[in-house]
Structure formats: structure tokens, C-alpha cells
């Protein structure tokens, strides 16, 4: 297990280095002079030169890269051009809101998807199955940037049940969480159905039934438990989609998280903050994927020896 752990963590290091390199390169992909682009066409040459010096853009590229890696490793992502606040502080202030939203969306997704997937598999080929399958495909096809406003029209504007934007009470969380979790729920329901169907064909399920276990017990206690491993893996892998979806959902519902900060920073051409947000989201995603892999290896010994 220790060897698997070490190998898997070692494989993550070059990926993280690659991520950091790509994020560093972003600022150099800006057409023309990045400092001029950040300050706008009307900025004076002196201001542009000052910013260039402040961001280290006047130094050789290799030196810039070295400094970027070094300061990133120390948790220093520079300062916001607009507020002069340290980027790390600005992001950490918004992080709890994003984690809250992502966690709520995942809870909503699992709560809808697992019963739906089980029902579709158990009643395969029936109206229940067709309804569940159609709902899943709808969930995948409906974009969250449409579902969000639709939910707001119905539940906030027409019915007046829930607030349309902001963060504070649990009621503020309901619409963003459903809007963000719907696509994940659809994917999870399909996965639950497919893996459970496979498990239901296994002989141990027939054996359990032959020993007198009820159908419900055979499904839940035996088949469903074994079908959980790929479902849990998928939840981990889909965390990235939830993080990206959060960028859109936070914008729709004025949710004060990292995603909204990213879009606002793009609008203000506050590139150090843009770089910081992108880096943080990508590193979080890599971390969750690593954790999923490690958990998978822990649960299924075959993975460790592959």
C-alpha cells in the first residue's frame, strides 16, 4: 500500500508542475504588452513601465518562471491589481462559499441520483426505467446557466419561496445547489443504473436470493454495495465539473465564491487574481483526483497492484 501511495503521489508532482507552468504562461499569451492590456490603452507609459516592473515582466522569462514557482510554493500569488489585496487572502476569503456550494450540490446530486439509478436498474425496461433514463439525459443536456434562471423564475419570482441571489441562510443555498447538482445527478444516475445492472447479473446475487434473502435485501445489501466503488470514483472525478459549474452558478446567483471572483477579475483584467483563481481550482481538482485514486486503491486491492 505504501508503494502505491508513494508512486501515486510522485506521479502528481509533474502534473502540478505542468499546471503551474501553464498558469504562468497565461499572462504571456496576452496579445501585445500584458501590462498595457491590464491598465488599458489610456494608461501612461510610466504607469505601464511601473506595472511591468512590479510584476517582474521586465526580467528574463526564465527568471520570471523561477520566481513564480518559488513564490507559488510559498503561497504568495502576488497582489490584486484592483484592490492591492494579496491574491491568496482574496481567494481564501471566498473559498468557504465555494466549498459550501460544491458540497451542497454534491449532496443534492447523490440524494436524487442514487434512488433514481437503483429504481431504473431494479425495474429495468419498465416505465420507471424509461422515465429515469430520459430524466438523466435531460439533466445532462440542460445547461446550468439555463436551469439556474429557470429555477429563479419559478421559485423566486413566481412563487416567492426562495431568495434569488446572495448567501446567508440555507434558503439561499437551495437554488444554486440544485442548479449545480442537476448535471452531476444525471451522470450519477446513469452510472448507478449501469453498474447495478452489471452486479445484479452476478451469481452471488442469485445465491443470496436462493438463501432466502428478499429482493430488496439482495439489491441493497449485496449488489448495490458492490456497485458503489465506480459510483464513488465518478463522484470524485466529477468534482472538477462541479468546480467549473460553480463559476457559472456563482455568477448567476451572485454567490460570493471563487468562481464569481474569477469572472469579476477577468472583467477587471486583474490577471494576478485570474491566475490565482485558476491555479487554486486546478490544484484543488488534482488534489481531489489524487484522494479519489488513493481511496479507490484502499477499497479495491487490485488497483494497488496494477
Amino acid at each position: 500500500m505504501l508503494r502505491f501511495l508513494t508512486r501515486r503521489i510522485a506521479l502528481t508532482i509533474p502534473v502540478l508542475l505542468g499546471v503551474a507552468t501553464l498558469v504562468f504562461s497565461l499572462i504571456h499569451l496576452i496579445p501585445g504588452d500584458p501590462a498595457q492590456a491590464m491598465l488599458g490603452e489610456s494608461a501612461s507609459p510610466q504607469d505601464v513601465a511601473d506595472l511591468r516592473a512590479r510584476l517582474g515582466l521586465d526580467r528574463p522569462l526564465v527568471e520570471q518562471y523561477g520566481r513564480f514557482l518559488q513564490s507559488t510554493l510559498h503561497g504568495d500569488l502576488g497582489r490584486s491589481l484592483r484592490t492591492n489585496q494579496p491574491v491568496t487572502t482574496a481567494i481564501l476569503e471566498r473559498m468557504p462559499a465555494t466549498i459550501e456550494l460544491a458540497a451542497a450540490a454534491m449532496i443534492v446530486a447523490v440524494a436524487f441520483a442514487v434512488p433514481l439509478g437503483i429504481a431504473a436498474a431494479v425495474w429495468r425496461g419498465t416505465a420507471v426505467d424509461h422515465t429515469a433514463t430520459t430524466l438523466s439525459l435531460l439533466g445532462i443536456s440542460i445547461p446550468n446557466f439555463w436551469l439556474g434562471p429557470l429555477l429563479a423564475i419559478v421559485f423566486s419570482i413566481e412563487l416567492g419561496w426562495l431568495p434569488v441571489s446572495g448567501r446567508g441562510t440555507w434558503s439561499h443555498l437551495v437554488l444554486p445547489a440544485i442548479s449545480l447538482g442537476a448535471a452531476l445527478a444525471a451522470i450519477l444516475a446513469r452510472m448507478t443504473r449501469a453498474t447495478l445492472l452489471e452486479e445484479l447479473r452476478e451469481q452471488y446475487v442469485t445465491a443470496a436470493r436462493a438463501r432466502g434473502a428478499s429482493r430488496a435485501r439482495a439489491v441493497i445489501r449485496h449488489a448495490f454495495r458492490n456497485s458503489l466503488i465506480p459510483v464513488i470514483t465518478l463522484i470524485g472525478l466529477q468534482f472538477g465539473a462541479v468546480l467549473t459549474g460553480a463559476v457559472i452558478t456563482e455568477t448567476i446567483f451572485a454567490w460570493p465564491g471563487v468562481g464569481r471572483l474569477l469572472i469579476q477579475s477577468i472583467g477587471f483584467r486583474d490577471y494576478p487574481l485570474v491566475q490565482g483563481c485558476i491555479l487554486l481550482i486546478a490544484v484543488t481538482y488534482v488534489g481531489v483526483n489524487l484522494l479519489t485514486d488513493l481511496l479507490y486503491g484502499l477499497v479495491d486491492p487490485r488497483i494497488r497492484y496494477e
Binding site: 509533474p14 502534473v15 502540478l16 505542468g18 499546471v19 507552468t21 501553464l22 498558469v23 497565461l26 499572462i27 499569451l29 496576452i30 496579445p31 436498474a121 429495468r124 425496461g125 439525459l137 435531460l138 445532462i140 443536456s141 440542460i142 445547461p143 446557466f145 439555463w146 434562471p149 429557470l150 429563479a152 423564475i153 419570482i157 434569488v164 443504473r193 449501469a194 445492472l197 452489471e198 468534482f239 472538477g240 465539473a241 468546480l243 467549473t244 459549474g245 463559476v247 457559472i248 455568477t251 448567476i252 474569477l262 469572472i263 477577468i266 472583467g267 490577471y271 485570474v274 485558476i278 481550482i281 486546478a282 481538482y285 488534482v286 483526483n289
Partner: protein, 267 residues
């Protein structure tokens, strides 16, 4: 389901090709005195905040969506297939290098890298296509690499090699064709993905810029009128969901037809 998907996609193609020509109104024509008017017999989907006919704009938006989908999927699938087959066939350092690039690009969740790229390159239709293609090839490369790793051990591939066939010929005539069914399925599902991604970027103000009618841009415009004119939000969103659903139905159907194992597994 796949027939329904094909019908939806066909309808969208017809709408994109002939819709703007047969529409009763110019998608850019403004009737400010009727701005935000709801659906009526004259304006089926109503009018937007500048008094433009939403039905005409939805039809014109189909062009943008399908154009982005086709260009992004074409570039991504060709580049991905080429790099994936090279990585899988040659192995060693070549495979390692391509696989590491794939790993790094996959470390960015979904749209995030596209958002980052468009943020620095500037919002435009061309930059959306560039950004989506830069991240799109990765999925195809990974898929094809896996297929080629298997295919290179097939006897007919080894026979071609033993007969002295040149590597490009082996790849083009024997190896890549084995991956094409999987690539076709991925490309069909990828059309839906690219259309969604373009709409998402445009919704965030990072994609197609007004006044060009894009479904995402239209949804963005409707955000400020949720209260007084929800039809601004409903119809473009319906168009996106409808077309993406069509490609998903078609992709699922193709997968079932081309990969019987999946069909058996899915029950």
C-alpha cells in the same frame, strides 16, 4: 432515441441553413417601441430588450452553435486521433511526452482552461474555437491511444509490419480505422459538449459578442429581465437543451450500435 436525436439534429441543421433566409424578421432589426413584448402570433418567441425578434435570433444562433461545434470537433478529433495514435503506436518517449501533456491538460477541470484562455486572448468567436480546440483534442487522444495500444498487437497489423509496410501507411490503413467507431461516438457527444461550452462562455460574456446572435449571449441578455420578460431566457435555453439532447441521443444510439458490449452492460 437515436432516431429522435437524428431528427432533432437534422432540424437544427435545416434551421441553421435556411432559417435566417425564411424568417419573417431580420435578427438584427430593432423595434424599440415593442421591446420586451411577449410571444404573439407575429413574434412567436417575443422580442428582446432592443425589440429584436427572438425567433429570428434563435434561428441565427443555431448557425453559430453548429459552426462552433463542427469546427471544434473537427480540429479536436483530427489532432487528437493523430497524436493519440502516434503515442499508442510508437510508445516509449513519444508516448510519455504526449501522455504527460494530456495529464496536465486533464488536470484542469472542464471549461476552466477555456475560460482562462479566452480571458487572456480576449472574447471573440475565433478565440472560443481556439480555446475549445486546444482542450478538446485531449479526450480524443486518450481514447485513440488506448485503442491503438490494443490494435498494434493485432495479427493483421503485425503482418503489415512484417511485409515491410511504411509506418504512416500502417497507421492510416490498419491502426487508426480500428479506433474510428469510438472516435465517431465521441465526436457526436463532443458536438453537444462544444455547443454547451460555447454557450457557457458566451453567457459569461467571454464568447461571441453582441450584437451577433448566439444562444449564450441571448441568455446573458435575459438575466436582467428575469422578472419582467422571462421569454428572453426561456427560448434560447430551450434551443440549447434541445440541440444538446439531440446530439446526446444520437451519440448514445451510435455507441449502442457500434459497441455491443456497452449495450449489453447498459441492459
Amino acid at each position: 432515441m437515436s432516431r429522435l436525436g437524428a431528427a432533432i439534429v437534422l432540424l437544427a441543421i435545416v434551421a441553421a441553413l435556411f432559417g435566417p433566409a425564411v424568417a419573417r424578421f431580420d435578427p438584427a432589426a430593432q423595434q424599440l417601441d415593442q421591446r420586451l413584448d411577449g410571444p404573439s402570433a407575429t413574434h412567436w418567441f417575443g422580442l428582446d430588450e432592443l425589440g429584436r425578434d427572438i425567433f429570428a435570433r434563435v434561428l441565427a444562433g443555431a448557425r453559430i452553435s453548429l459552426l462552433v461545434g463542427i469546427v471544434v470537433v473537427s480540429i479536436s478529433s483530427v489532432v487528437g486521433t493523430l497524436l493519440g495514435s502516434i503515442a499508442g503506436y510508437f510508445g516509449g518517449v513519444v508516448d510519455e511526452s504526449i501522455s504527460r501533456i494530456i495529464d496536465i491538460l486533464l488536470a484542469f477541470p472542464g471549461l476552466l482552461l477555456a475560460i482562462a484562455l479566452v480571458a487572456v486572448l480576449g472574447p471573440s468567436l475565433t478565440n472560443v474555437v481556439v480555446a475549445l480546440s486546444l482542450i478538446g483534442w485531449v479526450g480524443y487522444a486518450r481514447l485513440v491511444r488506448g485503442q491503438v495500444l490494443r490494435a498494434r498487437e493485432f495479427e493483421f497489423v503485425q503482418a503489415a509490419r512484417a511485409l515491410g509496410a511504411a509506418t504512416p501507411r500502417i497507421l492510416a490503413q490498419h491502426v487508426i480505422p480500428t479506433a474510428l467507431p469510438a472516435v465517431t461516438v465521441q465526436a457526436t457527444l463532443g458536438m453537444g459538449g462544444a455547443i454547451l461550452a460555447e454557450a457557457a462562455l458566451s453567457f459569461l460574456g467571454l464568447g461571441v459578442q453582441p450584437p451577433t446572435p448566439s444562444w449564450g449571449t441571448m441568455l446573458n441578455g435575459g438575466r436582467t429581465h428575469l422578472l419582467d420578460a422571462p421569454h428572453l431566457t426561456i427560448f434560447p435555453g430551450l434551443a440549447i437543451a434541445f440541440l444538446v439532447l439531440g446530439f446526446n441521443f444520437l451519440g448514445d444510439g451510435l455507441r449502442d450500435a457500434l459497441d455491443p458490449v456497452t449495450r449489453v452492460r447498459a441492459g
